[in-house]
Amino acid sequence: MRSNHKARFVPIVLALGLMAAVFGTPLGGTPNFDRGESDQDYAPVTAPVASGEAAGQSSVDVTNELVRHNLQTRSTTAVGPHGAADVSAYLGITTDSLSTFPEVVGYPMLRWDYSFLRLRDPEQLVAAARLAIRAEVVDFGLPKFNSDTGGYWTPGLHEEEGVVDVANEVWREVQVRVTEVLGDALDTGLEPGDTLVFISRGGQIRVDPADVAAADGNRRGPEGEHPHDVTLTEPFVVQSPPPVDLSKGEDVLLLLDWNKFQGLYGGAYGYRFELMPANEILYKYIIDGDTAVNVGDPEGSLTMSYAALRELIDKSLGTAAGPLPRPGIIPADPHPPVDPFEGSPPNDVDEPDHSHGE
């Protein structure tokens, strides 16, 4: 490919960093609760450009090339603190779009719906993104929970002041092939032809609660209440609809950002930076002739001429983006985490960082 940039694959690496943690290896393998050396798969991030800090800009150095993986070859089961997650049903169907779910027969289904932030000013939307690309949707990863393994976990119960739980959520990877880079506020060196992976909400997972009594016993609140979901004792299915659908082969314009991705890592709440939609219901545009149509905004206030959108990207991309991406897992700060195993947080996590602008 190109030779004059060593920063080629940061989006991929940042996204695959989660996979590395989830599966112990980037591509799968034995589920485990120990990240082991997975953090080594994360690309180092060089010192940010001083003048760009306020705008969320940085120079990113990437040396990892983990893009050459096959999203469909990963394990279809993962064990988590409160149960196993099984997505093998996806292998039996053709999933041409994010919204395609395997049929649910014989299991109770819990549907997780959300309310999302809606913006009506296109400049606000663009300002919150740090990468704007035209791309072809290539493939989707298998759904998983936001834990080390991708296995099932639930937030705990706390009565103490200052303890804030992190939500358990269902995510999957989206693989796209870049056809044009319209804006790159982190200067990654991404070019047409590169493959990119970002994380999208949504998916369907069959959960087999494991040893509920033991897990519950470890997570009872002071009044003996049950954690969310853990009272379920039989297999059930969680279905989380994607906020915006994507289909394989689709030509899209995407507004993405590297942002905090929270989960249960090593039995502790923590987060890492992942490439994800800048706004989950509004990040996708379809180019129809000279018009850029925001498919998540049927009202039309974000739809405009393609030329005007490109101009806006040139002017405002990343000007209101979040904190600078950092490598590795950052413990939730300052609270002690939920620890379903009543153990200490793993000793290989980064030291708490107080400078990420939260």
Binding site: V105, G106, Y107, P108, M109, L110, R111, W112, D113, Y114, S115, F116, L117, L119, R120, D121, E123, Q124, A127, P155, L157, H158, E159, E160, E161, G162, V163, V164, D165, V166, A167, E169, R201, E223, E225, H226, H228, D229, T231, L232, F236, P241, P243, N259, K260, Q262, Y269, M276, P277, E280, I281, D297, P298, E299, T319, A320, A321, G322, A332, E358
Partner: protein, 249 residues
């Protein structure tokens, strides 16, 4: 006026009995007229859309009892708690006698919390599963009658979202009009309570997306639109499992 019948019992026992009878009468007055239908079978599939008639109609048998969990139980989140009650009352009013008898019970497992979310989520309402006896999401069953696993969550790390230019979002917990970078907690709770009834995202027929309808799936800063249920949405409070309902309150 309620007259407590006299019994020939010891004074202390009489006092206890009076208390018991009074409580029972009070309970009878508070519990809405039951709309219970006979449970005739299991309801393990297609729960969401209620095509199975066994999956309908039982939730109104129960009172709603909430437990403020974790961070939401703290004094500085009293505004978020108050607006949750506003939202529950709105749904209750929409359903007439309705199921939304709001009170607190620290020992019951229907949790209302503030948690950190990924992405641009503002909140979520996750319905309880059926348990073989009560097939639709009950906010809280009597002892032994249900899982009570409904989760109602509002975003805690709201300040990390961008609402207006470089202005971070915040919750508006009053009853007036939120500022331009504020999100109406009352309105978002409305949607989450709808999800807890298994109502999915949709726009009322014939309505424009320019208005933040309660179950639209999104909330715009600075608006209070979602506080108000359309008649279409209110009908869900009477027939929560059907997206295309035929009955009204």
């Amino acid at each position: 006026m309620v007259v407590i019948p006299q019994y020939s019992v010891a004074p202390r026992r009489l006092s206890l009995l009076r208390s018991f009878v009074a409580l029972a009468l009070a309970g009878a007055l508070l519990v809405p007229a039951s709309v219970a239908q006979a449970h005739t079978g299991e309801c393990l599939t297609d729960l969401l859309y209620g095509s199975d008639p066994n999956c309908r109609g039982h939730w109104q048998d129960f009172h709603t009892q909430y437990h403020w969990n974790g961070e939401l139980s703290q004094a500085h989140h009293s505004g978020e708690r108050d607006r949750f009650l506003s939202a529950a009352t709105s749904w209750q009013n929409a359903s007439g006698a309705g199921p939304w008898h709001v009170h607190f019970d620290s020992t019951k497992p229907t949790h209302v919390s503030m948690v950190n979310f990924n992405g641009s989520v503002l909140g979520t309402g996750r319905p309880a599963r059926e348990d073989g006896n009560d097939h639709i999401p009950q906010m809280q069953g009597a002892a032994g009658e249900g899982d009570g696993t409904t989760g109602l969550w509002l975003r805690h790390d709201i300040g990390e979202l961008i609402c207006q230019g470089t202005t971070a979002c915040s919750w508006y917990t009053g009853t007036g009009t939120p500022g331009g970078a504020q999100l109406d907690a009352w309105g978002v709770w409305m949607e989450e309570l709808g999800h807890a009834q298994n109502i999915t995202h949709h726009l009322p027929p014939g309505h424009s997306s320019a208005h933040d309808h309660t179950m639209s799936g999104s909330t715009t800063p600075g608006t209070t639109d979602k506080r108000n249920l359309t008649s279409h949405e209110a009908d869900h409070a009477c027939d929560p499992y059907e997206l295309t309902h035929s009955s009204s309150c």
